[in-house]
């Protein structure tokens, strides 16, 4: 990989940061600025929100997050394996992956059977 690839990636990253900033500045420049108290209140159909929005939410979402960490790390680990698969000897390499996937598959089966993914 030539260094110009990384330079061009950096340029695109810079652009990605600059474009929204320019858009917001343009919006501020052209848009009106007439603040009223109602306008800056929470979108709640004109009612005063009875409670703060930042409250606790159901634990189900945390379960999904834990599952995500397990399986996404698995996918990340499999990328080098997949990259080398074509150049490898084939079946031994395949077997190693099966052991890895098998353990995770058993885990997934357990999670489903225990009903961790049931949403009432």
């Amino acid at each position: 990989m030539e260094p110009s690839v990384l330079v061009s990636l950096l340029i695109v990253l810079g652009l990605a940061a600059a474009i929204p900033v320019v858009m917001v500045i343009l919006g501020r420049a052209f848009g009106p600025k007439r603040p009223t108290e109602v306008k800056y209140s929470v979108y709640e159909c004109g009612l005063e929100p009875p409670v703060d929005a930042r409250r606790r939410f159901t634990v189900k979402f945390y379960e999904v997050a834990v599952l995500f960490v397990v399986f996404d790390v698995e996918v990340a680990f499999l990328f080098p394996w997949a990259l080398l698969f074509k150049k490898s000897s084939g079946f031994l390499f395949f077997g190693e992956m099966i052991v890895f996937l098998g353990i995770l598959g058993v885990g997934l089966f357990y999670v489903i059977k225990r009903g961790a993914l049931e949403w009432e």
Partner: protein, 410 residues
């Protein structure tokens, strides 16, 4: 291989080493990519309104420009003149940062999508991995937007979006892995070049499991883009507008642009991974520089390539829109069930099947064309069969077609 940088510099006569040449090269990159992202946004928003209108027996926007083609531009100018609101209770820093993060995660993806063999800004050899990594940054931006707004609709939308995006990332990643196993490379350029030649060399027809891998990728990418039937984070009837309820003016426009940019990104990835990227599927057209010769030949070849991948991607975007305006939104529990109980085990099995196929085939790539032709024939046959089936179903609902076309401007 000559990069886009040196190629464009040599065509335009820049000296890449001098300072002027460097500034020129930045302009050569920056202007087209920015213009392209905006044009993709404008065209796909117009397409969405036209397609939704025609599906619902309307005509959609007609007034601004031919067939309303400039309507999106007019809307953008209108958004420019709107007040930039930050709610009083909002966390101002995160509220400002969120649309930028969402936009950046989409925009950076455009850097590694190849338009032709040479017209790719950064030909990373970790292309797919990079796209998966920056794509998941979007979830953080969405959660930031929902949390900082201090509005319960925004927060619910953000939680739903985060759950959906992270869980569909797993089947998405597994289907990317299946393609990496077949291609033996993560560079989008190498993957495309492995599909050169006739149509049946495309990865979609490489082995009997690729169609299923593509379908899983497509479903997961719909969820990643928060498109219907997975538009729970923005469910208008439940959550006002989801995580961007409190956003107005240009900040809202940034979210909107990023959303339609992401649709192009996922479609372009699908085209590169399964539909032969910039290759037309006709070897003569793909190597036209051999028969024209010189710089003209190279330019024409690259233009054909860029046109091909853009047309293919927009066809997939049209399919995404067709699905959005055909299927009803699913519930949260159905969404999670579909991902973790069906797509995830199924994509694990598919990964095993694809790698087993590859292991039997060994490092020799013989027999790919024969397999490809068989798969292409099977695909065409099943498409004809499905068309027949659909014809029989739609005859039963022929009444719908007799409804009068109502002319409205949306």
């Amino acid at each position: 291989m000559e990069s886009y940088f040196t190629f464009v510099s040599s065509v335009l006569g820049f000296e890449p080493t001098s300072l002027l040449g460097f500034v020129g090269a930045i302009a050569v990159w920056a202007v087209p990519i920015t213009a392209f992202v905006s044009v993709v946004g404008l065209v796909s928003i117009w397409l969405e309104r036209k397609i939704s209108a025609h599906i619902q027996c309307r005509v959609g926007p007609m007034e601004v420009g031919p067939h309303g083609a400039l309507q999106t531009l007019a809307d953008g100018i209108k958004l420019l003149g709107k007040e930039d609101l930050v709610p009083a209770q909002a966390d101002r820093i995160l509220f400002g940062l969120a649309p930028m993060l969402v936009f950046a995660s989409t925009f950076v993806g455009f850097a590694v999508i190849p338009f032709s063999q040479k017209a790719v800004i950064a030909d990373l050899n970790l292309g797919i991995f990079f796209l998966a990594a920056v794509g998941s940054l979007e979830a953080i931006g969405v959660v930031m937007a929902g949390w900082s707004s201090n509005n319960k609709w925004s927060l619910f939308g953000a939680i739903r979006a985060a759950t959906q995006v992270v869980s569909y990332e797993i089947p998405l990643g597994l289907s990317l892995l299946a393609v990496v196993v077949v291609a033996g490379s993560m560079s989008l350029n190498d993957i495309t070049q492995a599909q050169s030649g006739w149509v049946w060399n495309w990865f979609l027809f490489r082995n009997p499991f690729m169609w299923a891998v593509f379908l899983i990728y497509f479903i997961a990418s719909l969820a990643e883009c928060k498109r219907a039937p997975f538009d729970l984070p923005e469910a208008e009837s439940e959550l006002v507008s989801g995580f961007h309820t409190e956003y107005s003016g240009m900040r809202f426009a940034i979210f909107f642009l990023a959303e339609y940019g992401a649709m192009y990104i996922v479609s372009a990835i699908a085209v590169v991974l399964f539909f032969g990227g910039w290759y037309t599927g006709i070897p003569f057209l793909d190597h036209i520089s051999g028969s024209i010769g010189g710089t003209t030949g190279v330019v024409v070849e690259n233009l054909i390539g860029a046109g091909t991948i853009i047309v293919k991607s927009f066809l997939l975007i049209c399919v995404q829109m067709w699905i959005r305006w055909t299927l009803p939104r699913i519930r949260l529990d159905q969404m999670m069930d579909l991902c973790l109980k069906y797509l995830l085990p199924f994509s694990l099995v598919l990964l095993v099947a694809v790698s087993l196929w590859q292991a039997f085939q060994g490092p020799i790539d013989g027999g790919n064309s024969v397999m490809g032709m068989i798969m292409l024939a099977a695909t065409v046959a099943s498409l004809i069969w499905m068309r027949r089936l659909a014809g029989r179903v739609s005859k039963a609902s022929a009444l719908r077609r007799e409804l009068p076309v109502v002319k409205t401007g949306l």
